[in-house]
């Protein structure tokens, strides 16, 4: 990847962090104390107060409660599973799909861009070779499998959002924009993959593992059978840029979108779940 991509990438990360900090400043408008803070405490003061509290809990017996809270209420949402299995299924498809795809992308990025700079040579590790090779069957299968998971999740969310019986309008503009972003990232990703297969004339026995891109490449080829690999290469670069730009824009949009709940809900769920579990423990121990 060229240097200007890296610069944009880093700027986008800063933008994401900046957006989250901006949103967090609204949260830190509040009081520490339920019954009002008589003393003016700055936002930084409040921030460090909570950081201190976090580490105090982290290095205590409460650590295991934190782990339990993250496991049950943040990662697996057992309460949602119990109450609304369909919603849980949709959420699981989208959350785990995006989460694992993000991890896979970061690892692939490391394998392709970072590790060679540190003197890594292909053939040293099969795992890194696999991550670096987009045509590796496992990488392609995993990538497209996750894509398919997210797609099913998005489609089900859309259907459920528009068909639900309840009169309450739970489906808001923020959700639509978010689903459009995710959908566009997915679609542009398939087009990028499909045009690459066509540009590189990837044989079927390799391309079949990237099944979403492969099926699309068949359709694209049928629509424009006379296009040369060079033409497909141009399309590939165009789609890659569109895909990358959408990913970047969605990163900037995260703090202001419904996707911000990934961060805020996770923190809220962990904190509230920890408090609840500690309260139950106190009740069981007869301290209350």
């Amino acid at each position: 990847m060229q240097i200007h991509y890296w610069i944009i990438h880093i700027l986008i990360i800063f933008g994401l962090i900046g957006g989250l900090i901006f949103k967090a400043t609204t949260i830190f408008e509040g009081n520490i104390n339920k019954f009002g803070d008589r003393k003016q405490v700055s936002k930084w003061g409040k921030f460090w107060h909570y950081i201190g509290k976090f580490f105090k809990n982290f290095f205590s017996k409460k650590f295991w409660f934190i782990v339990l809270a993250i496991f049950l209420d943040v990662l697996f949402h057992f309460k949602l599973l119990r109450e609304k299995p369909l919603k849980w299924f949709i959420h699981t498809l989208m959350f785990w799909g995006l989460f694992l795809l993000f991890i896979l992308s970061v690892l692939s990025g490391l394998a392709v861009e970072i590790l060679p700079a540190f003197g890594y040579h292909p053939g040293t590790s099969w795992v890194i070779d696999m991550l670096a090779d987009m045509d590796n069957r496992w990488t392609a299968l995993f990538n497209d499998g996750l894509n398919a998971m997210i797609t099913i999740g998005v489609l089900l969310a859309l259907i459920k959002g528009f068909v639900q019986k309840k009169k309450i309008k739970m489906f808001e503009m923020l959700d639509v924009v978010l689903i459009c972003f995710i959908g566009f990232i997915l679609v542009s990703g398939w087009f990028t993959e499909a045009s690459r297969y066509l540009a590189e004339e990837t044989p079927y026995y390799i391309a079949k593992f990237g099944f979403m891109g492969y099926w699309l490449s068949i359709i694209m080829k049928a629509i424009s059978p006379s296009s040369s690999p060079e033409i497909w290469h141009i399309w590939n670069r165009a789609w890659w840029h569109i895909h990358l730009t959408t990913v970047w824009l969605s990163f900037l949009y995260i703090p202001f979108s419904k996707l911000s709940h990934v961060i805020f809900s996770s923190v809220a769920a962990s904190v509230n779940s920890l408090e609840k579990r500690l309260k139950i423990k106190e009740l069981l121990n007869g301290k209350d």
Partner: protein, 425 residues
């Protein structure tokens, strides 16, 4: 979006509450559980809609444009809806029981009321309630001197009417039981039970002020702290070992909110000038806990009550305080009782409609909620429904009567006394 000044004050919320507001995923589970929504089918008062409007309003105020101009506000129609949603709620807390993110919604609703009250957006009835409380120190139109008038019907009361300067137990009667004739039976039964068990107890008379929850629930936090200060001092000076309350809300306030207020004021980081420095030098118990303790100690000789009895969990005793077993165990101690559980019990119990100042803000909605619970009681086939809350007894008795049901709604103290005195029909 209107170009008017957005007056919502985020400082009325805690950091944890603001995090909860941002963390809401609008999954809608809370709406499925909301008693007010179930009774009204009005989506505008559902918890999901309420939090969504609140979040939007905060986001407008603290957006980049909002911070610069201060003029990003919801349309007036939405603001009216937010006010309606905030006050048409019993604060029963059922919305937070199944929240996948464990949001502390009840606290958010109380702070929302406080924020709206500061803007002058609250039902007119609550202004009257506030004035009554500040003037009379209770929620009735009566003066506080008449607080123990209910005791006049009890046989064998001493001249001091148990208003003593010191005792082992202070009985905190609560405003509704003190001033609402429909539930006078509750404090009267409690006094008889204390007499039978030989408990050294005291009433506080006019020294007993409202616990302050109606003020908190209406959004007047500062005023509620003054009430706490007075009440803690009054009980402490009597040197009591126990404070016993019949009202679960008073109990919840004494047990959880007063210590939280006091603890908050001891935090030098946020409170350099504590006004509430008194510690609670006594143990706080709800009537059901104290009566169960006395029953287990063999202080009562229980006679048979051959009835089918169901128990209704009061929100502030159950969900807010985690007391589910003692009342059930106490009822089961009575010979002849056939105990039945209602469909929705313990943490999942439905509200009676009597909480959160809803009767003052919207009596029809309160009655609608009570009707749903009354129907569940009728369907259970019980002869008597027991609760350990004067407000639940009052609202359920009214709703059962409206449904032309013969089921009696009673407080647990009344049932116990009937069992001891053999007066059960």
């Amino acid at each position: 979006m209107e170009k008017t000044k957005n007056k919502i004050n985020a400082k009325k919320f805690t950091i944890s509450e603001l995090l909860d507001i941002q963390g809401c995923t609008r999954c809608g589970i809370c709406t499925d559980l909301c008693c007010a929504y179930a009774a009204s089918s009005d989506v505008e008062i559902s918890p999901a809609k309420k939090i969504s409007l609140l979040k939007k309003r905060l986001d407008y105020k603290y957006s980049l444009l909002g911070r610069i101009t201060g003029q990003r506000e919801l349309p007036e129609k939405d603001l009216v809806e937010l006010e309606k949603a905030a006050f048409q709620c019993t604060l029963c807390g059922r919305c937070e029981t199944e929240c996948p993110v464990n949001l502390g919604l009840k606290d958010v609703w109380i702070s929302l009321r406080e924020a709206l009250t500061e803007e002058g957006r609250y039902p007119a009835n609550l202004e009257m309630l506030k004035n009554m409380l500040l003037k009379g120190k209770n929620i009735s139109f009566e003066t506080n001197e008449t607080r123990v008038d209910w005791i006049n019907q009890v046989e064998g009361i001493p001249d001091d009417k148990y208003i003593k300067k010191s005792a082992e137990v202070v009985y905190f009667v609560g405003c509704v039981s003190s001033f609402s004739p429909r539930v006078f039976k509750i404090p009267r039964s409690m006094v008889r039970l204390f007499q039978i068990a030989g408990v050294d107890f005291a009433l506080m008379g006019e020294d007993e002020w409202c616990c302050g929850f109606p003020l908190l629930g209406a959004g007047f936090k500062e005023e509620a702290i003054q009430f706490a200060e007075h009440n803690i001092e009054s009980v402490n000076k009597r040197g009591a070992k126990y404070l016993v309350s019949s009202c679960p809300t008073c109990f919840h306030v004494w047990k959880h909110i007063y210590p939280e207020m006091a603890k908050a004021q001891m935090d030098k980081f946020t409170y350099p000038d504590p006004v509430l420095s008194d510690k609670l030098n006594f143990k706080v118990l709800q009537e059901v806990q104290f009566l169960y303790k006395l029953a287990c100690e063999g202080k009562f000789k229980l006679g048979p009550v051959n009835k089918k009895i169901a128990y209704h969990d009061p929100c502030d005793l159950g969900r807010s305080s985690g007391i589910y077993d003692e009342p059930r165990e106490l009822i089961k101690l009575i010979p002849g009782v056939e105990f039945i559980e209602l469909k929705h019990i313990r943490e999942d119990s439905k509200c009676c409609g009597g909480g959160g100042n809803l009767e003052a803000a919207s009596p029809e909605l309160s009655a609608g909620i009570a009707k749903i619970r009354a129907q569940e009681i009728i369907d259970s086939g019980a002869d008597i429904v027991i609760s350990s809350c004067q407000q639940c007894v009052r609202t359920l008795a009214g709703a059962l009567k409206k449904e032309k049901s013969k089921i009696k709604a009673m407080d647990i103290s009344e049932l116990l006394l009937e069992s001891i005195e053999g007066t059960a029909e």
